[in-house]
Symmetry: C2
Subunit: 314 residues, 2 copies
């Protein structure tokens, strides 16, 4: 089995999560330049905007980077063609059936990774022929699975049932978290929240500052009858929860949500009325740092904590 | 800081969760005899039954063991007095305010540990004077916190904010899981589900066999408007979920639940109409084993996986 580093051509097995409104070319290229794998988050980009981000990313780094593509979006075919045309070699697909596009992408020489939240979908992705899997737990920020399986329990169960490399996502923001993921059998980690609170993320400065104030109970998985999404408990989110607890229908919730709330919160910085997607690990994030510092600290902590485990004998 | 092993006088930092209907004297003494810390689960016992279990446990082991006491129960004062009178030296309290009983217990020479599910309550428990904390994540079986924080994200956040030892609970059933918990800063682990599927647990044989069939998505945290509880998605649980999704009131749910469903499911073995409390890690459990084998396998795997981490250099 190829290591994650060999598969992507990177130095550290750290993948930056492709996130709506937060991960443009600046974040992706910074992560790749620092030795990880940067991903442009196509989910919040129109095709021509994505093409521009890819071009800028190529200009900003000579290292490998990829694009995250939610397969349920209507412009998937156009988006994937752009990625191929622009010479990107790595695609992370999510939110859809990996069977639909994996063969097409592999025929064009792409490395394909699919994001899942359960053992069943991990097995389906392997059958579809992907090179690796991201297994993402309940604690992750933003859109999430329906089964609510946590990273600690999901990773070993997925690792046991597939033979391709598993990248752990959800709840990891430090070298210790990375070490825990490897202890569970993961071959790499995907990091979202920690990179949102970086200098290079395209998140609004007010959202970045907000992350530093959050504690362990500041987020909740909500709007489950639409698509489950982990949000900061702000005014909008609490209003939605009240409606849900009063038995609001899917249609009422959809109307309440409206369009553009993710952009409003994360990109425009409306902390009350926007959707603020962030993970449960946000409580550990106390500083906005450059990406290179984040990655170097993570690797240093991984190595230090690994040495500490050595001294444990039972 | 004392190690968990020094605090309890045990060989391995493995605590068996005190569980209703599953952890009587037979399980607790087996865990203590195998080098861990066994706990009698007082939550499902009348005071005189508890006294009998303590007496039998003392006869079955000369090693330290403890009792888990949910503080919200009406007979707490009587139960704690029995524990003191019988010479038990270790109490794990849960589901209540640690301020109420900790000083009283410590004056009587007891080691006191409190179970929490958030940073705030960990700090409150430390202020109350407990010797250690169990921090239990969302993936744990049975009764759970309201904040839904997962073990992977809860442990490092609690460890950062308290100075007493933290025991990780929720989602741990193997040596790898134990290693992950230690990587996150835990000083010990509390194991529930894995010990339910042991020869010595007092769970009904049908419930034990049922655990072996479960996958990663087989449980769900439900009945949140009463007390959140993680249950197997059986006929009763699915009926409760349907009622919840139809906007059932707290009173209606309480009536639907009735009394005695936990006993009906876990002790009497009614797999359809009883409550079956088990964690998300149940999907990893494929065999009913004697406690000693479980603990020995866990320690052996911990050591093997620890050695594997050593070979990772980044």
């Amino acid at each position: 089995m190829k290591t994650i580093n060999e598969l992507f051509g990177i130095r550290y097995p750290i993948v930056q999560g492709g996130m709506v409104w937060c991960s443009g070319w600046e974040l992706a290229s910074a992560v790749s330049n620092a030795g990880g794998l940067g991903l442009i988050g196509a989910g919040s980009m129109k095709p021509d905007v994505l093409r521009l981000h890819i071009k800028k990313c190529k200009a900003a780094t000579d290292k490998p980077f990829g694009v995250n593509v939610p397969l349920l979006y209507s412009q998937t075919a156009e988006v994937l063609q752009i990625i191929v045309d622009e010479g990107v070699k790595i695609v992370f697909t999510s939110a859809g059936n990996p069977q639909t596009w994996t063969a097409w992408l592999k025929e064009r020489g792409m490395v394909v990774v699919h994001v899942v939240a359960s053992v069943k979908f991990a097995q389906k992705a392997q059958t579809a022929g992907v090179h690796a899997i991201v297994a993402e737990g309940f604690e992750a920020g933003g859109h999430n699975g329906f089964d609510e399986t946590t990273t600690l329990t999901l990773i070993p169960q997925v690792v046991q049932k597939v033979s391709i490399p598993v990248i752990a996502a959800g709840g990891i923001a430090t070298g210790s978290g990375m070490l825990a993921a490897f202890a569970l059998g993961a071959k790499g980690v995907q990091i979202g929240s920690r990179f949102v609170a970086s200098v290079e993320a395209s998140a609004h400065e007010r959202f970045k500052q907000k992350i530093l104030e959050l504690d362990d109970t500041a987020t909740k998985l909500t709007l489950k009858s639409l698509v489950p999404v982990r949000l900061v408990k702000n005014a909008f989110m609490l209003r939605a929860e009240t409606a849900i607890n009063s038995g609001a229908s899917k249609e009422e919730l959809s109307q309440m949500l409206g369009k553009g709330r993710a952009k409003l919160g994360m990109f425009d910085g409306d902390l009350d009325e926007g959707e603020l997607e962030i993970g449960q690990i946000a409580g550990l994030i106390n500083e906005i740092l450059p990406v290179e510092t984040i990655i170097n600290q993570m690797i240093a902590e991984f190595n230090t904590e690994k040495e500490k485990l050595l001294n444990l004998y039972f």
